[in-house]
């Protein structure tokens, strides 16, 4: 009897020690060897971006010229004034605009400049005096009696970052300073919305982050027209010649690009890199057969059919093999001799004056009729020189629309200076930079948060060091961009936001995250079961037996005691 008891004891000990070895050595060993490498990510900082609070601040300088404030009022003019405006876009995104308004009186030289006969001259000479940093504004307040602006004009917006504001008639004399400032405030706000950003622009830029209410359709359509923010764009001009047998077309695209497009793109250089190329495509047909209109004695294309025009052409345009930036296509279509002239009709069946149309986020097409430059007796093929000034005028207008350089129409009483040879005023560039920075920040935050979510969900995906590096650099750039927006340094904000977007996209589209380097859990367990089941069942059974034995023994002892 005693020997069996010893045997039993030994068996129990052996089972316990095997179980201990399995738990202490086996499980950690298995855990270590099947572990995936996951580099550290700044998860807490990424989580902060889930709720985005953007503060945009603009520096505005208000300069009072002689005759607008009395000398005693001059002394009482506050140095600075900060106005905040808060908007809640949705539960996770909040916007705050801060206008830092500084007041001062005009210097003698500025007074001289404001005495010029016309507003544009005054504007020019004011620029010569000072240079304003990117994103800031100067508003010159002139007395009501000034002859600088014509009768019905209140505000003149210059080519650079200045505006000239005329006091209203009710502000003639003897008003207190408070009244004057209160009178000025809404008008300065209006100028700001025109020259730097308006709330609708910024919410449109946030479209990547925020689902807009259906009521805002108008804005969505406006924002959908322009290309998404991207570090670079490819601009392709294509000359479509469906009839090389009758027309031999020559376009001097090289010099046209040099004269018309390049100045605008040089100005836009802080926004993105642009590369331009051009090509000539022969036998490129439109997808729709134009209909002959007897009343107009010309062929016509309806607005409804325009959507089908491009498809066959697009197959031949070819994507850019050498880069992955979005492509802006500008097509110049010269209809063949049998289908000329060709006119585009709008919804009201009116011929479109420019004979051109554009497609959002794709490009533009212009139809260029050449039938009237040669007579019926001409020897085919006819050599035709294309008037590039006419063509480029249309293409530039389309380019501005597609890049999002589209100013909302000025409110009544505003006059906008004609833009200089670059085709883009400084404040227009600022406007674009504001919305592009906000758009970049919005896109980068969504990318980085969704990447963090994905990595969190799939537990056995490998996170390499380079991805962690990209993510952290994206997070740092994002924080810097937000901080620069708060400080009002627009140029730096755009720069950092571009870096953020690049780093976040690189991390998100890294091929190592897409690789099937890992198996789903169910397949893994299918492989483990043949090993684990026969090993674990005896251990578990003997552990259960030991436990029940021990309980029985205790119960017997209890019975004995009783």
């Amino acid at each position: 009897m005693a020997t069996t008891e010893v045997e039993r004891r030994r068996g129990q000990l052996a089972a316990l020690s095997i179980a201990a070895v399995v738990i202490i050595v086996g499980v950690p060993l298995w855990w270590r060897t099947t572990e995936t490498y996951r580099a550290w990510l700044p998860v807490s900082q990424i989580k902060e971006f889930a709720t985005l609070q953007l503060l945009l601040s603009v520096d505005v300088e208000v300069v009072f010229s002689r005759g607008t404030v009395s000398p005693e009022q001059q002394k009482k003019v506050p140095m600075t004034q900060t106005q905040d405006e808060e908007h809640r876009v949705d539960e996770n995104t909040a916007l705050k605009y801060r206008y830092e308004i500084r007041y001062r009186t005009a210097t003698i030289m500025e007074e001289d400049a404001l005495k010029q006969p016309t507003a544009s001259d005054a504007d020019l000479s004011l620029h010569a005096l000072s240079e304003n940093p990117c994103g800031s504004l100067v508003v010159y307040v002139i007395p009501e009696s000034s002859s600088l602006l014509s009768e019905d004009v209140d505000v003149y917006i210059g080519q650079k970052r200045t505006a000239i504001l005329r006091l209203g008639a009710q502000m003639r004399v003897g008003r207190t300073l408070e009244q004057l400032l209160a009178h000025l405030e809404p008008r300065i706000k209006k100028i700001l919305h025109m020259m730097s950003f308006s709330h609708t622009d910024i919410t449109a830029a946030l479209s990547d982050r925020v689902r807009l209410a259906p009521g805002n359709r108008e804005n969505i359509v406006d924002s959908m027209r322009a290309f998404k923010s991207s570090p670079g764009y490819e601009i392709t001009f294509s000359l479509l010649n469906p009839d090389p047998k009758s027309h031999r077309l020559h376009w001097d695209i090289e010099s046209a690009v040099e004269t018309y497009v390049q100045p605008l793109l040089t100005k836009l250089a802080p926004i993105a890199n642009f590369s331009i190329d051009s090509q000539t495509l022969y036998y490129a047909m439109l997808g729709v057969n134009p209909r002959f209109d007897i009343s107009r004695s010309s062929y016509t294309l309806n607005a409804e059919s325009l959507a089908h025009v491009i498809n066959p052409v697009e197959a031949r345009l070819g994507s850019n093999a050498a880069s992955s930036n979005p492509v802006l296509n500008f097509l110049l279509y010269v209809p063949d001799a049998l289908h000329s002239p060709l006119h585009i009709l709008d919804r009201k069946k009116q011929a479109v004056h420019s004979n051109a149309f554009h497609s959002p986020r794709w490009g533009g097409i212009m139809v260029y009729n050449v039938n009237d430059v040669y007579g019926p007796e001409a020897v085919l093929p006819v050599d035709i020189n294309i008037n590039m000034a006419k063509v480029m005028g249309v293409f530039l207008a389309q380019l501005r629309l597609l890049l999002g350089v589209q100013s909302s129409s000025p409110p009544p009483g505003f006059v906008v200076a004609s833009c200089s040879s670059t085709g883009l005023a400084d404040w227009e560039l600022d406007r674009l930079m504001w919305s592009r920075s906000v758009e970049n920040v919005a896109t980068a935050t969504t990318t980085i948060t969704s990447l963090a979510q994905l990595l969190d969900q799939i537990g056995n995906i490998v996170i390499n060091d380079n991805i962690a590096e990209q993510v952290s650099s994206a997070v740092t750039s994002l924080q810097l961009a937000v901080a620069e927006l708060e400080a009002g340094n627009l140029g730096f904000a755009l720069q950092y936001s571009k870096e953020a977007i690049l780093a976040s996209e690189r991390a998100f589209f890294d091929p190592s995250l897409l690789h099937l380097l890992y198996f789903p859990d169910d397949q893994k367990f299918a492989i483990y079961i043949p090993l684990f089941l026969p090993m674990c069942v005896p251990i578990l059974l003997s552990l259960i037996k030991i436990a029940s034995d021990a309980r029985q023994k205790r119960r017997e002892k209890q019975a004995k005691k009783d």
């Binding site: 051009s278 040669y374 249309v394 040879s421 003997s542």
Partner: protein, 647 residues
């Protein structure tokens, strides 16, 4: 609003003015004489209505909008001050010198086997200064996609070919341009490229997209840098082979999806000219099909002061008309391509069809209709050939029916072919799955002259070549190569490269043998159909073969395209490149359900061993009384029945 802006501009931009305000202003100021013209020119439109329609359209998701021009006109107009003196469109009186040039050509050669060999060549010349770094690039006839590739990857020369089928040299003679089965790509980079391998990989990926081919499978394991075999064919004397990369994909299957992007590169597409004949269902119903793109810099003129890019697109196809023609030997363009020709590509400077009539000097072999008086002689591949020429740029070629359908009807089927002077073949010998031997046979059929050939062999790493077993024998004697370049492979990194210069004695067969061992791959490295075998690319044999007739070395300008591809410097020999068959080698192939079986089996073994050990360790043992024997048990049963106590 835009009108306001324009109003301030100088008065010179009136000609391109498009806005209402500007037009009215023009009418006021222009003197009476020109008033009418200006008024006729201006069609005042309601800018507001355009704007409104724009808004209406804007409601749709993907909308097509009429463009308002007024916005930017001011900018455009401001700049257009300088050139507004020129009238709108000018019908030019003098044609400017074209910057680009396009030529097309089709050669048809009846083969002695009864097949028909048709070879298309399209040549685009692009006169541009490509060494200059430019951001803006403008393309005319040259395809933009390839131009961008050249400038982005700093390519100096690019040769790519896709071939379906194997060219049977012994039956068909020498092709104008040979290519190995599958895909072949070789590229010379500019010497400004620093990371050649990275650029090469990226270039292969981009080309893979352009040509819809699996060129993205080109990586370091199938890329070699030949030292002598592939010299640049264009101008330039950089021969540092660090900038050369060569790769073949013998497995590549070529079909219509490769032809369509190739056709897109032609300026006329398939709408006009010879390319009309390129119908894929006919082209791929053939014994041999090969398409290629060659880009290289060439001289612009005699003096060769400036260079221009040459893009040569070639397409070679061999039709087996003899079998499909129910015994009748006749062919026509319509029979081959199911199309006829009606016009030349209007952009082409020359557009010709050449038909090889060398064997038919008096018309006793076959009859050609419509007959053409134009005959041309050219020296191709060391042989003087005579061709009937149809010039498509001449309207008279098409005759009264306005379509050209060249027809050839055979009278007799005699005649023998000149045996090609150089010819090669290759096979794998040996048995079992461990070792083997590659045999390469090179034939010199020249009766009395020996010539040297360059042999290039690129063998994947999983065939481990034993280079010490390399033997070269001709006519039973050891033939020592005068130059051997051998680069051993590295597992999973790079292939073997063997290059050697061998002198082939006259009228002989030279045999090169080398032994190899088959490596065992990792189970993820096998192709989806591993039992099909693994391809080893063709050997390349390049040689200057003695010519039978003297070559004309100086004037390459007026000669037909097919005879001008390889630059020739000597009169007495011509350059030939011969490809052998690709090899198909079986590697030891495991059963691919094996990993799971192995896991299950080992787990079971482990579990059984562990189970018995566990049992031994944890069971308690006690001595049991041995059970009584059978006799005793029976006795006990009987005793119980009798009522007697058991034993």
């Amino acid at each position: 609003m835009a009108a306001h802006r324009c109003g301030f501009l100088p008065p010179l931009f009136i000609l391109c003015a498009l806005s209402v305000l500007t037009v009215t202003w023009t009418q006021e100021t222009i003197p009476l004489g020109s008033h009418r013209a200006a008024a006729a020119d201006s069609k005042p439109t309601d800018t507001k209505s355009v704007a409104q329609t724009t808004e209406q359209l804007a409601v749709e998701q993907r909308q097509w909008e009429a463009t308002e021009v007024e916005e930017a006109t001011s900018a455009a107009a401001a700049v257009s001050k300088q050139d507004n003196s020129s009238p709108e469109d000018v019908v030019q009186t003098s044609t400017p010198k074209p910057k680009d040039e396009f030529q097309e050509e089709l050669v048809v050669r009846p083969l002695h086997s009864g097949d028909i060999y048709a070879s298309f060549q399209f040549r685009t010349l692009w006169q541009t200064d490509f060494t200059r770094e430019r951001k803006v690039s403008h393309y005319g006839l040259f395809p933009k996609s390839l131009g961008q590739v050249i400038s982005k990857f700093s390519v100096r020369e690019l040769h790519i070919s896709f071939t379906q089928g194997y060219w049977r040299t012994m039956q068909w003679g020498q092709p104008f341009l040979s290519s190995p089965p599958g895909a072949e790509l070789w590229v010379w980079f500019q010497d400004t490229v620093t990371d050649v391998d990275g650029t090469w990989k990226e270039l292969a990926n981009v080309l893979s997209g352009i040509f819809c081919a699996s060129l993205n499978f080109i990586d370091s394991t199938n890329t070699v840098q030949p030292t002598a075999s592939f010299k640049p064919l264009g101008i330039g004397n950089v021969t540092d082979h660090r900038f050369l990369r060569y790769a073949t994909l013998p497995r590549e299957i070529v079909c219509t999806e490769n032809l369509t992007p190739w056709k897109k590169l032609l300026p006329c597409g398939t709408k006009a000219g010879l390319a009309v004949l390129l119908k894929s269902e006919k082209l791929f119903h053939s014994s041999f099909y090969s398409q290629a793109v060659h880009i290289r810099p060439v001289c612009q003129d005699w003096q060769c002061k400036t260079a221009s890019w040459e893009l040569r697109q070639t397409l070679n196809v061999v039709f087996d008309l003899h079998n499909s023609g129910q015994g009748k030997r006749e062919w026509s363009l319509f029979k081959m391509f199911s199309r006829t020709l009606t016009e030349a590509c209007p952009l082409a400077s020359t557009s010709k069809i050449y038909i090889d009539v060398t064997d038919n000097p008096e018309g006793e072999q076959f009859e050609l209709s419509p007959a053409t008086a134009l005959l041309s002689q050219a020296v191709v591949l060391g042989d003087r050939r005579t061709f009937s020429v149809y010039d498509l740029t001449q309207q008279i070629t098409f005759g009264t029916v306005r379509s050209l359908n060249v027809l050839m009807r055979w009278k007799s089927s005699e005649g023998d072919m000149l045996r090609p002077l150089l010819h090669a073949e290759r096979y794998v010998a040996g048995y079992g799955l461990q070792t083997g031997e590659i045999h390469t046979l090179m034939y010199n059929n020249h009766p009395y002259r020996s010539f040297p050939v360059l042999l290039l062999d690129s063998v994947p790493w999983y065939l481990r070549m034993y280079i010490h077993t390399l033997t070269v024998t001709s006519k039973g004697k050891d033939n020592k190569p005068s130059y051997i370049h051998y680069q051993p492979s590295k597992d999973r990194v790079r292939p073997h490269l063997l290059e050697m210069l061998v002198q082939l004695p006259p009228n002989s067969v030279t045999e090169v043998t080398v032994e190899f061992e088959r490596a065992l791959l990792k189970w993820t490295e096998y192709t989806p159909d591993p039992n099909h075998g693994f391809y080893v690319g063709s050997s390349v044999i390049s040689s200057l073969v003695p010519s039978l007739v003297a070559l004309d070395t100086n004037s390459t300008w007026q000669r037909p395209l097919f005879s001008t591809f390889f630059p020739c410097k000597e009169e007495s020999s011509y350059f030939v490149r011969v490809y052998t068959e690709p090899l198909l080698v079986n590697l030891p192939t495991p059963d691919f359900s094996m990993p799971y079986n192995v896991i299950c089996l080992t787990c079971t073994v482990v579990a059984v061993g562990y189970g018995s050990l566990y049992n031994l360790l944890t069971r308690t043992f006690q001595i049991e009384e041995p059970s009584p024997g059978l006799a005793k048990r029976l006795a006990n049963i009987i005793r119980r029945m009798r009522g007697v106590p058991p034993l």
